[in-house]
Symmetry: D2
Subunit: 304 residues, 4 copies
């Protein structure tokens, strides 16, 4: 039987020596202050055995990883009607390109790029009475952890500098693919990105994606078909224009965020989260990707 | 335990009634003559139990499905040096676009689009004494079936009308990413596409991709890491600009060809091949995609 | 000697019979109410002889034609430093594409597409104490006509529905190519587009572009090199992705607006303005383009 | 009255001191051997007065400048039917991009990019008994100079390395926009590019474009409308993705070639040709562009 604890400790110790840890994201001022030497990893297996190494208890900004969680909430709420407003193909392009949106007449290429996640946010704003609170409740519920919260300073920092997202939302509006007020939708979106969690909490949240839709407390949030689709989207679209490379090197459905986190799952086996704030040139956590490549290589486990 | 035979028979009978079976490819004259009502499916499980329905014994032109087999042969021959000349990202574009090739200075986006497969062909021509014969031998070996052969009429038909591929090869040459003579490489490429197999033979060939690199006669052709990578490429790039949709609906690594075939695998579980000559607007077998979606939905099995 | 009066009357009467007059712009609600049968033309020659036909005295919204006037004011104010923030190449693309802006890192392709004109507006806002009033003054001065004014209803209508321009301005801001507050710049931009003039007034305004920078009252606003450059930009970029066609058919530097106006000049010879609210599929006045093609063909006059 | 001789001598002497003369084209081996210090200029005015400076009598490869001459021959032969197979818009893109051709389904953006000129060549091959000889005759006739000839070594050099043009021709063929055999059309095309002329001969050839279609011996080759259109195409499309810049800085219709030549005209006034083999990064003669900018600035003459 695999000794996950030993494996992730070896990985953590191997990566300590890596000199080029990537570059901490600077475009959100609040995020630029993080220590680039932080590294955490947490793996929870199907039987809820837990394995940790490094800074796995330290909170970080989940940023784009939140897109998978908002998609899950949205899919559970409204079902397949989402796909009338968002496509499901990989973008093959950096994460913030509006070009695709124009070429495709306001239909985002997939729900894990910014434009797609803004449409998901719009659907949630349309369907929830109190969108921010109810979305946070959802995350607290699937993690069974009421301590999880927004970092208002980060949300505020994004609002003040998020011109690219404001551009995307207005472009969606110009195509009729944003139903609510631009500011209201972006307020929700900037908050979802500004949720803080640690590796353990995030691995708990992603447990449902490796467990056919059931969270750790046994409640079913998504059916098996919906989980298949969300995992497929993570695999084909979860790493911007490096999605192919992640599938190729790691072989797990996953999602990265510019806060340095990566969450990934091996269905029926485990959910795993890494955190290392330095990003590679494509905007994904440099050491996080290496850690997960080592994990699937050392364990000979992947979806392939 | 799952009754695959019953399931695929139900699928075959359900699909018989579908009126819009798509459009048979017309750009290769030899292929345009096929009866659009043909439908075959063959599944071989990990224990080499076999399940068939419909026209599973009828030969068809494997076309682009051959790209997975030439990639396998090439990867086994030269290892990771392939990736200096070909990228591993989904194209998000129709299968014959040269635009990407220009934007990316002659490095094909992945080995499963035409330009990438032509570079793979170039590497094989460089590394094999008798490329066509040796590639055919490889296929005969992994299927344990010496009856498999090129259809020379189809190869000839492609050579006479394959202006787009001639353009791609010359463009690669202009970027220095084609080492051999254009005509020689294309002669190999047109032949690999013109191999004829039936659903059973092709499922036998793909057995090694679900069996960690070992073919049915027990010989190891690829290591576990190489198989992970080829399966990842099938999942992210196997269906042109419909790759996301196939992952999303079906959830299996697979590859389609304009001859109407689709080969797919569920690692450790099965290899499956469908054949239905009518294509959808994106160039993939219309009923084949539906059959595989039904298979993974009815069995609740997929890589996700 | 050419009898301009006879020629433009013939043109006006010939065009009266044309059945397909194009489609009145509907995306700005205030503009959608205009009668599509309106047609006016006014030509002023180098000696200030004037020739009119049709509805040449009726006010219309000059819209994008204002981009030439704001560029002139800006060029006169700050000189060649404009070209550090805006390029001078034709876009070969529809008038509202943000894609180019991304591909070119926030440097608009030229000052006559929306993104470029928004940067021009930003420069004016930076350099004028009272931007809207002073820009209007400039137009009143070069036309010697104090009756010219903004239509506040149109400006307001654009502000409420101008999501695409809001997107463009925020995208410019995200690249650091917009120095002032987005709302302030757009308020100026929506007002400059909402200026109302008739064919005669607009021909008076464009007189300076055919007269080497000197307006009708003899004041020099631009030097000969600046006028060469503005005329070159009109010729290569004045008609969105139909610029080549306008140069080819008409052979004059000119600029169109979605209000249905077109202003054009033949250096040393004349300035001419047409107005017909119906647009062709590329967003340019359908009959206006035909009228000007007839004018240069009948007179055998063009810059070529 | 302007003293053209003095002006061009000053220009030639001013440019002698410029250190960075650009880079001689290396992709056609035969052209890479040219001395980068060569500089010639020849201007012929409407009255056939001639003004020369520098190496104006030295032969060079006219390359893409030939596209204007083949277009003229083709337009004279078949009239407006050309425009069913070629568009008239600027490309806004480097001179060898196939991407546009794909996006626009095999219709080249204009006749002055390679793909467009290959379609022009195809039309000439279809309509001339002896295409190469008859095209050379046309050039000998409009220049009244029988010494003009192909450089077979250059033609051969291009044939052996012209993979990008072979790609373009095959792509056109795949869209049905090339009627003759690919090799036959390219043989013509490589020969037209390989014509050698000196500045004086080329200025003589372009005299007809400033003289409403009449060559120096008084024969009318094109009507006034056709000349307007060819000049418009030179202005909007004659310098690849630097066309806007040339219009903006120089203000004349013109065409460059990678051999280092530029031919330009001021209708009713003059035809001028410069030759300096060093190219800028956009593939246009570096000193040639500067010389023409100085010419129109010093003379205050341009079409604008």
């Amino acid at each position: 039987m695999l000794n996950y604890q030993e494996i992730i400790e070896t990985i953590a110790s191997d990566l300590k020596g890596v000199k080029d840890k990537g570059t901490v994201a600077s475009y959100i001022p609040e995020l630029s202050k993080i220590d680039p030497n932080k590294f955490g990893i947490h793996l929870v297996d199907a039987h809820m055995n837990r394995f940790s190494a490094g800074d796995a208890e330290e909170l970080f900004s989940i940023q784009s990883i939140s897109k998978v969680l908002s998609l899950a909430k949205c899919f559970a709420l409204v079902g397949d009607s989402i796909w009338q407003r968002i496509n499901v193909e990989p973008s093959g392009d950096p994460f913030n390109h509006l070009a695709l949106l124009e070429f495709e007449n306001g239909i985002p290429r997939n729900p894990l790029i910014n434009a797609g996640a803004i449409v998901v946010a719009d659907i949630l704003v349309s369907n929830l009475e109190n969108p921010k609170a109810q979305f946070l409740d959802f995350i607290r519920q699937i993690t069974n952890d009421d301590s999880i919260a927004f970092n208002e300073k980060v949300a505020d920092s994004e609002k003040k500098t998020g011109y690219h997202n404001i551009a995307a939302a207005n472009l969606l509006k110009s195509y009729g693919n944003l139903k609510n007020d631009v500011d209201e939708v972006l307020d929700f979106y900037f908050h979802q990105c500004a949720i803080e969690m640690n590796c353990r909490q995030l691995a708990n949240a992603f447990y449902l994606f490796m467990n056919h839709g059931k969270c750790q407390s046994g409640k079913t949030h998504l059916n098996i078909n919906q989980v298949k689709r969300i995992n497929a989207l993570m695999l084909t679209c979860g790493f911007y224009d490096e999605a192919g490379d992640f599938a190729f090197e790691v072989g797990l459905p996953g999602k990265s965020g510019v806060g340095g986190g990566i969450a990934a799952v091996l269905p029926d086996k485990f959910a795993v989260v890494t955190w290392s704030p330095g990003l590679n040139r494509k905007g994904n956590s440099k050491l996080g990707m290496q850690a997960l490549e080592k994990l699937t290589t050392k364990t000979s486990q992947s979806i392939f």
